[in-house]
């Protein structure tokens, strides 16, 4: 099980990387941590003439506070996020999702940007980014553009990134106030891609009413999904009046492309997804109430 031959490029700046993409076109593939890409290469499910390695691009790494948000360089490893006290304090949803990604050896290589750009609908980071309305900084030979999460994921393993574009950073808004956060997912085994899951953030007003709620769903569509109907139903509701199971039901009610595979039918995934939303709501709302 050996990959097909390819040429290898190791740029040291993001601009250089983008230049290579422009030059090589769709025969090139970016490799960041490689934890999803290399297995596909080894199985020869994917073949590229050129790999452009982001591993030596220093300006794509790091966690920083920018205007009340947290900006994370795309090549920042998941392990770095996991260890970051900053992320834990400012973007708890991201921090709590991180240990659920694969195993620690995977997180040592896997990157924030790699996970988002790979856009597996069952992955944790895309659902978190979507729930939190993160914004994606995209670099191309023509310059830099910013895309909201809602417009970034456009299909199965497919994003708004063009062939000559590179995801440079992702900025997560910081929720303040009486907030609670929870990520709940169900996988066959620890570290496997989830059958279904939910990333949920909630903020309560002093009156114990829901001021805002964001629910990202994973494993329940061809892209990460947002449980808009459930979010809308929750906003303004008294936290004690919420029927958690109803939140779960509502969250999966509008899904129309739930996948079906070896590990479960669409109906089964929907059931598990609803349960994960219910559990995430209970945990997050309880945390917010205490906050």
């Amino acid at each position: 099980m050996k990959p097909a031959p390819f040429d290898y490029h190791a740029p040291t700046t993001a601009d250089e990387a983008v230049g290579l993409l422009a030059e090589l076109g769709d025969t090139a593939k970016l490799i960041a941590g490689g934890q999803s890409l290399v297995p596909m290469l080894a199985l020869r499910l994917a073949v590229f003439e050129h790999l452009v390695d982001l591993g030596r691009v220093g300006d794509l790494r790091g966690v920083e506070h920018v205007d009340g948000s947290v900006r994370i360089g795309a090549a920042t490893t998941q392990a770095t996020v996991e260890r970051s006290a900053d992320v834990a304090a400012a973007v708890p949803l991201l921090a709590r999702a991180t240990p659920l990604i694969g195993h620690f050896q995977i997180r040592n290589r896997g990157t924030v940007g790699g996970s988002l750009a790979h856009a597996d609908p069952a992955a944790e980071y895309p659902a978190v980014a979507l729930a939190l309305d993160a914004s994606f900084e995209i670099l191309s030979p023509g310059g830099r553009r910013t895309v909201p999460a809602a417009d970034f994921f456009d299909g199965l393993w497919s994003t708004a990134l063009g062939d000559d574009e590179l995801l440079a950073a992702v900025t997560f808004p910081v929720w303040t106030g009486r907030c609670g956060f929870a990520v709940q997912e169900f996988a066959r085994r620890h570290g496997d891609f989830a059958i279904a899951g939910a990333a949920l953030a909630v903020e309560l007003g002093d009156d114990d009413r829901v001021r805002r709620c964001a629910i990202g769903l994973l494993g329940l569509g061809s892209t990460p999904e947002r449980a808009t109907a459930a979010e809308e139903a929750l906003v303004g509701a008294g936290v004690d009046d919420v029927d958690a199971e109803e939140v779960g039901r509502l969250a999966v009610s509008a899904l129309d492309a739930v996948p079906s595979d070896l590990h479960g039918s669409a109906d089964y995934r929907r059931r598990v997804g609803a349960a994960m939303v219910t559990r995430a709501w209970r945990a997050a709302s309880e945390e917010a109430r205490r906050g």
Partner: protein, 171 residues
């Protein structure tokens, strides 16, 4: 594009070669460095048998290309013990707790556990299990491995057994 010149540190020694870009770090270590303790159990990043330390962090050597390790430090199973063949504390704990049987997955476990315990010196049982869950073993049912890690973390565990002549007359 042909082969690429790389130079890295492997178990503290400089290692230089010209390699094709597609050569995995695991194959580089096994075939170019003769370090065959790094085993290939799946070659798609699941089993963990090929785990090595890359700049000190446990990674799957089948998911890293040798060219990506250029300029970095790699530690393999062969580099963990003492120079005279002394076992590291993790290796000794695996021996003491029947943490290996066929030994094929063992290097990956020992490498991973070495990094895990360095970063989590006082793990809970659940943390140990999660820390081990990225490595597959088919012989031990993880019983001896878990006991070894528990012991190496500095807290002894009590083997559960009833009856039998499993006594230790010699000590």
């Amino acid at each position: 594009m042909g082969d690429i010149e790389i130079e890295l540190q492997v178990n503290g020694e400089a290692s230089r070669a010209a390699v094709p870009p597609r050569l995995t770090l695991a194959d580089y270590l096994r075939e170019r460095c003769g370090l065959t303790g790094t085993h290939l159990g799946c070659e798609h990043g699941v089993c963990g048998a090929c785990s090595v330390l890359l700049d000190g962090e446990a990674v799957r050597a089948c998911l890293v290309f040798a060219v990506q390790a250029n300029g970095r430090e790699v530690t393999t199973i062969e580099g963990l013990g003492g120079p005279d063949g002394d076992l590291s504390s993790v290796q000794a704990a695996f021996r003491d707790h029947h943490g290996l049987q066929c030994g094929f997955c063992t290097p990956g476990f020992v490498v991973s556990v070495t990094a895990f315990l360095r970063d989590n010196p006082d793990p809970t049982d659940q943390q140990i299990r999660e820390g081990l869950s990225g490595n597959l073993c088919r012989c031990t049912g993880y019983q001896g491995i878990f006991a070894a890690v528990r012991a190496a973390a500095g807290e002894s565990t009590t083997a559960v057994a009833v009856g039998g002549s499993g006594t230790d007359p010699g000590s």
